[in-house]
Amino acid sequence: MLKIAKKDLASLFALIKESGELYLPVKVAEQTNFAAYEDGAEFDLDTLKSVKSPKDVFFPQSETLYTCKNEGKTIKITPEELVDQPFVVFGMKACDVGGIEVLDRVFLSDPVDSFYAARRAHGTIVALACHEPEESCFCKVFGIDAAEPVADVATWMIGDELYWKALTEKGEALTEKVSSLLTDADEQVVENEKTAIRAIIEKLPYSDLSLEGWNGDAVAEKFDSKLWNELYKPCLACGTCTFVCPTCQCYDIKDYNTGSSVQRYRCWDSCMYSDFTMMAHGNNRTSQMQRFRQRFMHKLVYFPANNDGTYSCVGCGRCVDKCPASLNIVKVIKAFGEKGE
């Protein structure tokens, strides 16, 4: 176990940045989101949850795939270059790391998504334990331990010090690079912090949420439930829940006419949107009820059906915090639980 004083973090970040891009929670106009660290930016490790999850470090909200340009009588197609330089993401929480594991199942399984795979190969994740979990957190329900994140490096912010422990080869390599700033630390301090975090997690209002009945075998039963007709009603059909979510992975591919060329890009899609999965024949979900149902069925039924029982929710609670109509996945799970469905 190593450590560094909180006041020296700026030096740590400067040193990390010497060998590549560094992404960490940065405060801009009062809101904290993951962004590439620039000198003078206000990094914020105190806010528990960034508004958007850090998933766009690996899976950006919008990215160009290739560009087509007329050159005489031919069309020149230039694929976008893949990320080929190492970078570091600092400050992801255990749930955020869990989100990346969900994305891995989608983008690293055959056919491998080369854009995502390149970023995963070059990125080193430094995760930060959750010093003070909040009431909207429910990672425990999905077997995630906010006290002990599993990443390339795990860190704990305790008092005026950041405790640091490398867990993988990538993590060892990064530790080696910044070793001049780290000093040996007492493991027991971190053990005490873990105990304190876990004690709070036990008391969180959602920690005892039951997922009984939600699994890959429940397709027909859940799909046909009349409850959806009630649950969707307050939904505004905005994309907030999907865009702040660390596991939502649906994307759309579109063309952007630059005037002299066409950029084919992909951007996050939202099952809440009216043209989600629009096909030549039209749309297979024609009502907001169907679109609303899709979000929860995907996370709690379809995804586990296709991924050995793994849910595509990690309990970060961002949708709980941000839904303009105060709807969320917890309320959906509870509503089914109450009706015994």
Partner: protein
């Protein structure tokens, strides 16, 4: 609140209304959700407190298509939106039974959290019938408190008043909450140099994630199909292609609701990134007031709005040259 529930049950049971549109108690102390209640028993979950900020007027567009009347609970500011929707023929007055509910200012849990309060277990003082000026908050990290005014939504600090502009009956008391000058923020921006203005909006709008929450919650945004949702339009609704586009979406929206926006503040309430979107709309309101005389959208149903009316002494387009 009990009076409201009792009355709603009565109106449901005697057949005056087919359903009640209000708020359902949440599973955290601050997250009640808009909800339709169709039976007297279901009203046991009805709640009306400081966290019922959601403006229910827009839900009446869909409710107007249903069989029978819908009892809708509207706060004073929500009634402006309802009137505006009536003016635009988007809701049916005959399908609504409006109970004007008292309001003592609505709360924003984000503001409470910004004061450093986290791990909220319970909140007292937010009840509709409480006269408290302080919220007492139990958290996993000890007891905290927060002044009611400090936790209020921005819009309540510039409240248009306690008067309901349309209703069938009134239940509950309201409180004066306005303690700030409505156009002060706009004037502050007007005083900036063009470069400062650009930098301000660039910084704010660069946070936009194109979730469309501002548009979808907006009672003035009631087009059946938004131009930004059209797949025939080069500008996708899902991502900002460049920094121009992120501004374009918000500027087009502001122009489209100009003269129709009642300044209900829902856009700023729902923005997950805390962008002060109301500033665009309020700038237009201020300009309309200055150029055409004071006008408040939604103050009365059917009113002729300056931008959809013509008078000989209307401002000429050349006014732009003088105003800069």
């Amino acid at each position: 609140m009990q009076e409201l529930i009792t009355r709603a049950k009565e109106l449901l049971e005697n057949g005056t209304v087919a359903r009640v549109l209000g708020w359902k108690i949440g599973d955290l102390p601050y997250n009640p959700e808009p909800a339709f209640f169709e039976t007297a028993e279901s009203l046991d979950k009805f709640v009306y407190n400081g966290f019922c900020g959601a403006n229910l007027s827009k839900y009446m567009i869909e409710a107007s298509k249903l069989e029978g009347k819908t009892l809708v609970c509207l706060k004073p500011c929500d009634t402006y939106s309802f009137n505006q929707l009536l003016t635009e023929h988007r809701v049916d007055r005959d399908k609504a039974y409006i109970i004007g509910v008292g309001c003592k200012g609505k709360l924003d849990v984000e503001k409470i959290k910004k004061t450093g309060i986290k791990g909220i277990v319970s909140i007292s003082g937010a009840e509709a019938d409480s006269a408290c000026d302080t919220l007492e908050i139990d958290t996993l990290y000890g007891k905290k408190s927060c002044a009611y005014g400090d936790a209020m939504l921005e819009r309540c600090h510039v409240c248009k008043g306690k008067e309901h502009k349309i209703y069938d009956e009134l239940i509950g008391e309201s409180r004066d909450t306005a303690d700030k000058e409505r156009f002060a923020e706009v004037e502050m921006i007007e005083a900036m140099s063009p470069e400062e203005k650009f930098a301000f909006f660039q910084k704010e709008l660069s946070k936009c994630i194109r979730c469309n929450a501002c548009r979808n919650v907006c009672p003035a945004c009631s087009c059946r199909k938004c131009v930004f949702d059209s797949n025939k339009f080069d500008s996708a609704q899902k991502a900002n292609v460049d920094s121009f586009e992120e501004k374009m979406f918000h500027i087009i929206r502001a122009f489209h609701v100009a003269g129709r926006c009642t300044d209900c503040g829902e856009c700023s309430r729902v923005c997950p990134q805390g962008i002060p979107l109301h500033l665009f709309n309020r700038k237009f309101i201020k300009d309309i007031d200055e150029l055409y005389g004071d006008y408040t959208a939604g103050a009365e149903a059917g009113s002729l709005a300056p931008l959809t009316d013509f008078k000989m002494d209307d401002a000429e387009p050349s006014i732009v040259n003088e105003r800069g």
